[in-house]
């Protein structure tokens, strides 16, 4: 279906002998923000890594922008317009903020205004002050913002965001939520892995709940907030 920018069916993946994903099914509409939720170890990060090509899928199909990408190299997937923000803030600590952004830079698709450092500094004002600081000399939270900014420099059509609110101060979490909403307003689809229901509710239209390596529940965020049984069963909040 054309309006789905990302479509995953029957995805299986794992690490060595350990199987982690057992047939994940999910889709993401253009311009939509969906939250991938679930307990620790449910397989959220594994799902995102497998989609991104950082972990070879063992079975299943992943279609991005109408093309099959399962098994493709990560750089090809990134060039097709899928961005990825890892959970461990993997910024380049020896490079300055500006150089970090430069590594992520890719040309924008025709007809779209490209992201520039200046535009990004509007969303992340903290970064503007430390343009020439080495990545390694930034606090955990500052690094988190830089990872997102760096990914946006690639002008992606969709972004996989792994636990963006983790380790951030409450005010910054609010800023981060605004950043995700800005991305949505720009027409970028976002699949965000999240354990924090408040954050998910603030940014997402739809939630998917992953449990033991497959999607067990999906529905609108409003339904999830209302349905205490589901929350208790899968999220233990």
């Amino acid at each position: 279906m054309a309006e789905h920018v990302l479509e995953v069916t029957g995805l299986r993946a794992g690490y060595g002998p350990a199987e982690v994903l057992f047939g994940v099914e999910l889709h993401l509409a253009r311009g939509e923000v969906a939250a991938l939720m679930g307990r620790n170890g449910a397989g959220k990060s594994t799902t995102l890594k497998a989609i991104m090509g950082l972990l070879p899928p063992r079975a299943g199909s992943i279609r991005f922008a109408g093309q099959e990408i399962a098994g493709a190299a990560a750089y090809r997937i990134a060039r097709m317009g899928l961005g990825y923000v890892p959970e461990e803030r993997r910024i380049f600590t020896d490079l300055t903020v500006a150089e970090n952004l430069d590594v992520g830079r890719r040309a924008a698709p025709a007809g779209r205004a490209p992201w520039t450092p200046e535009r990004l500094f509007q969303i992340f004002p903290n970064l503007a002050e430390m343009r020439h600081r080495r990545g390694g000399a930034m606090s955990g939270g500052e690094q988190q913002m830089l990872t997102i900014a760096r990914t946006l420099m690639g002008n992606p059509e969709a972004v996989l965001l792994d636990e963006p609110s983790e380790g951030l101060a409450p005010v910054i979490v609010e800023q981060m939520a605004e950043a995700v909403l800005r991305m949505k307003a720009e027409g970028i689809a976002v699949l965000v892995s999240e354990q924090n229901l408040d954050f998910a509710a603030a940014v997402a239209d739809r939630a998917l709940i992953l449990e033991k390596g497959s999607v067990r529940w999906q529905g609108s965020i409003a339904t999830l907030e209302a349905d205490e049984d589901v929350r208790r069963a899968y999220l233990t909040v």
Partner: protein, 259 residues
């Protein structure tokens, strides 16, 4: 008597003043939280207390003894246990083996060449695991555990040194909400029960406001507020620079839930 005292801790990285004249004290059995925006200097302060960083100025004393700038290993021997933001355990060992290793180190037996390590301190290790609710999983490889459980084992490892003080930098990072509350409740119970002081940083307001006795708010390296959870939550400046709406709400919720 004051368990831990930090006086005028200051640390500068090149042009960045990461901590400026940070002063606080902690009593035995008390839980003190340091909160503040990202980059406020929490980890820096923490590392000056734990020996990872040497302060440019200021003094740290543990039960009256000056420990400023001594190595982490030596700090540990004086009765300071530590957990890490990303749990650090011995991955090739079983759950039990991890705690046994900590006990072997605590008893200064790491240089023995002929004893059988797997048979040492079993009962003590099991007792520690029991305290954190992990005795049933003792035989499993630690790599197989859920992350929340790994954090519990890490706590048992830290307790093996019979610490007077626990340092926990973002102890609930990366955990599911329910597990966060459970872990902090566990820590609070152990700390109060045994008179262990706990110094922790945390961005999860539920954890902070439910369990901290006192809170210190750090912004740009300086303490801008300190006091009981009620006082800090009500401080408009703290709300503006740190808590925001969601944090204030979460703080209120946590305090209500906790009575």
């Amino acid at each position: 008597m004051t368990l831990l005292a930090a006086e005028g801790l200051t640390k500068r990285f090149g042009g960045v003043l990461a901590a400026k004249d940070v002063t606080f004290a902690l009593e035995a059995g008390e839980m003190l939280a340091i909160i503040g925006p990202n980059g406020a200097g929490k980890s820096t302060t923490f590392n000056m207390v734990g020996g990872q960083l040497r302060p440019d100025a200021g003094r740290v004393t543990l039960a009256g003894q000056d420990i400023t700038g001594i190595a982490p290993r030596a700090v540990c021997r004086l009765g300071v246990g530590r957990t890490f933001q990303v749990a650090q355990t011995f991955l090739s060992f079983s759950v039990l083996g991890n705690v046994q290793m900590a006990l072997i180190a605590h008893h200064g037996q790491t240089r023995r060449l002929l004893a059988d390590a797997a048979a040492m301190h079993r009962d003590d290790a099991l007792a520690l695991l029991d305290r954190v609710g992990m005795a049933a999983q003792a035989a499993r490889p630690i790599g197989e555990l859920a992350y929340g459980d790994v954090k519990r084992v890490e706590l048992a490892i830290a307790l093996a040194a019979a610490p007077r003080l626990l340092l926990m930098d973002e102890p609930t990072a990366g955990m599911a909400p329910a597990e966060r509350t459970a872990l902090m409740a566990l820590v609070a119970g152990i700390a109060r029960g045994q008179g262990i002081g706990v110094l922790f940083t945390e961005h999860d307001m539920d954890a902070v406001f439910a369990h901290a006795d006192r809170i210190l708010v750090l912004v740009r390296g300086e303490i801008i507020a300190r006091g009981t959870p009620d006082q800090v939550r009500a401080d408009p400046e703290v709300q503006r620079v740190y808590l925001g709406h969601s944090g204030t709400r979460a703080a209120a919720r946590a305090q209500r839930a906790h009575g």
